[in-house]
């Protein structure tokens, strides 16, 4: 798509009569035009128009009345916001304007119908785009459009706003309970994206300290991770397991959490039958072995890794 076409479609976003088609065209081609995010942000009224798309479906959330058409339309608007969230020139402005908070009501919905599932997944994609590095890789695409949106825009460096700023924003706006809710009741893909977001939060010292600051927070996260492991015994998903293990491993860096995990780490993680699915994933197998060493199961760890692992140093309070 040429720069002229992009300009035309962006211009059409502020007019309700031309908006729907422009949303569709831009969301299809957003990856091919690196300047799209600053165009969306700085052009007159465009973000205001995208916010109208978002709040206009609030009345359809409860009682649940979201149609496939309305869901697709707002998800196209969210895909454009995802560009803004992941672009280094606009991410800080996007956070400063608190735009992500307008997506939180979507994450609070419970309907399991496809329009709602798609809406939650796309909203998580926007949040996921705020935390840098790559989004989870889809092994296979159950649903092309859904996976595509969740997996967009990884790996760009951040300028102007650093990771800790993003983590502080997410923590102060209470994203964790919303992620936990999705990890409990979402589809496999939503669970994976939500777990990825929690993982990114934990990897920052601020995030680890926050979650381990009270027993209540730690056990809320621990219980949800544990339930997902149990569920994976029936419906395996190596990519989800990978993020769960990384979350546990990071939690084990905290002294009190390491102590608690000795008691509450799911036994399945020490079961060679269960962890056999990691055979071809050296990184995750090593993470699991390190986790088991940290919390005091060296024999189980030895079955996963030939290396002699030492417990990692403890961090934080």
């Amino acid at each position: 798509m040429s720069s002229n076409e992009i300009e035309t479609y962006v211009h059409q976003l502020i007019n309700p009569a031309t908006r729907e088609n422009a949303l569709l065209e831009l969301s299809k081609k957003r990856e091919n035009f690196p300047e799209l995010a600053p165009y969306l942000w700085y052009s007159f009224g465009t973000i205001a128009a995208l916010l109208q798309e978002i709040v206009s479906i609030y009345p359809l959330l409860s009682p649940p009345a979201l149609t496939a058409h309305a869901s697709n339309r707002v998800c196209n608007a969210l895909a454009l916001l995802q560009c803004v969230a992941s672009h280094p020139e606009t991410r800080g402005l996007f956070l400063q304007a608190h735009v992500p908070l307008f997506l939180y009501p979507f994450l609070n919905t419970v309907s399991k119908t496809r329009p709602f599932e798609y809406l939650r997944l796309t909203s998580l994609g926007v949040i996921g785009a705020l935390v840098k590095e790559r989004m989870p890789q889809a092994g296979h695409r159950v649903c092309g459009a859904m996976a595509e949106i969740a997996l967009l825009h990884g790996g760009r460096t951040t300028l102007g706003v650093d990771d800790t700023d993003v983590i502080n924003f997410l923590l102060s706006t209470e994203i964790i309970p919303l992620c936990l809710r999705t990890m409990e009741m979402g589809s496999e893909l939503s669970k994976t994206v939500a777990t990825f977001i929690v993982q990114k939060i934990l990897l920052d010292d601020v995030g680890l300290n926050y979650i381990c600051a009270t027993a209540e927070r730690f056990f809320a996260v621990g219980a949800v991770l544990g339930n997902m492991v149990v569920m994976l015994a029936e419906q395996p998903s190596p990519r989800l397991l990978k993020h769960i293990i990384r979350c546990y491993l990071r939690l084990s860096d905290n002294p009190r959490a390491r102590e608690a995990l000795r008691q509450c780490l799911p036994e399945l993680l020490r079961n060679p039958g269960f962890t056999a699915c990691l055979k071809s994933d050296d990184t995750t197998r090593r993470w699991l072995a390190q986790l088991l060493v940290n919390v005091g199961f060296p024999e189980a760890a030895a079955q996963l890794s030939n290396e002699m692992l030492q417990p990692t140093p403890l961090q934080g309070q």
């Binding site: 502020i14 128009a49 109208q52």
Partner: protein, 255 residues
């Protein structure tokens, strides 16, 4: 602090709905007297945190949007009008989507506390459901209204300096537009690098319309008698956002 209308309680008496199907119970249970009490208590419980949060978020978002979109606009009336339109819509929408379920629970609890013990449990449950469904939107519209009112007051405080800067520039005969444009060009590539059609043009009707659309958006609730009495100005007014249609819209108005 979210301030409810001081006459709210008197109004509640006029607007609570007692379904005709409850006629048999209404008198015995003094529903006309007790339902307004329950609605009032539920609102008092739910409203302050909902309004506080919705208004804070809406103000931060609207502030960033209008100061960006109206950065070079020398007319503080357009800035103020756009800010009011946007912040009312955002705050009202957020308040509604946030308050509905908690208010439903609270209203049921309040009614239960006031009415339990006076009849068999299953009769009470049925009556509660009817009363909650019939009066939930009344409570929602009161909370929505409190959020939009506070949001408009708060955004004016945030934008006071921006309004004043425009007034001062005009009083001194200084060119606000050029200065703002120059200040922007020092900040970074954008918005200077935007194509012309996407750059903010003070007073251009096609652009202003997007802010006016906030007033045209259907709110969550169907028309309610209380809402109607609160909003005599329901229809969007002739817009102060736009310049007079004399063909000079794109011209820099500040000379």
């Amino acid at each position: 602090m979210a301030t409810a209308d001081p006459n709210l309680f008197a109004k509640l008496h006029n607007f609570v709905v007692i379904n005709p199907s409850l006629a048999g119970l209404a008198e015995r249970l003094q529903l006309k007297r007790l339902v307004p009490v329950a609605v009032d208590r539920a609102i008092v419980e739910i409203m302050p945190p909902v309004v506080e949060r919705s208004v804070t978020i809406a103000c931060m978002t609207a502030y960033e949007m209008v100061t960006k979109d109206y950065a070079v606009d020398p007319d503080e009336n357009r800035l103020r009008s756009a800010a009011h339109l946007m912040v009312s819509s955002l705050a009202g929408s957020l308040a509604l989507v946030t308050c509905k379920e908690p208010l439903r629970v609270s209203l049921a609890n309040q009614l239960h506390a006031l009415l339990s013990g006076q009849m068999e449990a299953h009769v009470l449950e049925g009556a509660l459901q009817v009363l909650v469904n019939d009066n939930l939107e009344l409570g929602c519209s009161i909370i929505e209204r409190a959020a939009t009112d506070k949001a408009v007051r708060d955004i004016d405080k945030s934008l006071a300096a921006a309004y004043e800067a425009r007034g001062n520039a005009r009083a001194r005969g200084q060119p606000f537009y050029e200065r703002a444009l120059y200040a922007q060009s020092q900040q970074g590539r954008f918005p200077a690098a935007l194509p012309e059609s996407l750059k903010p043009k003070p007073g251009l009707p096609q652009q202003q319309r997007v802010y006016e659309d906030f007033a045209r958006m259907p709110r969550a609730l169907p028309p309610h008698p209380l809402n109607a009495s609160f909003r005599p100005d329901g229809a969007p007014p002739a817009s102060p956002l736009q310049q007079p249609q004399d063909g000079s819209a794109v011209q820099v108005p500040d000379k």
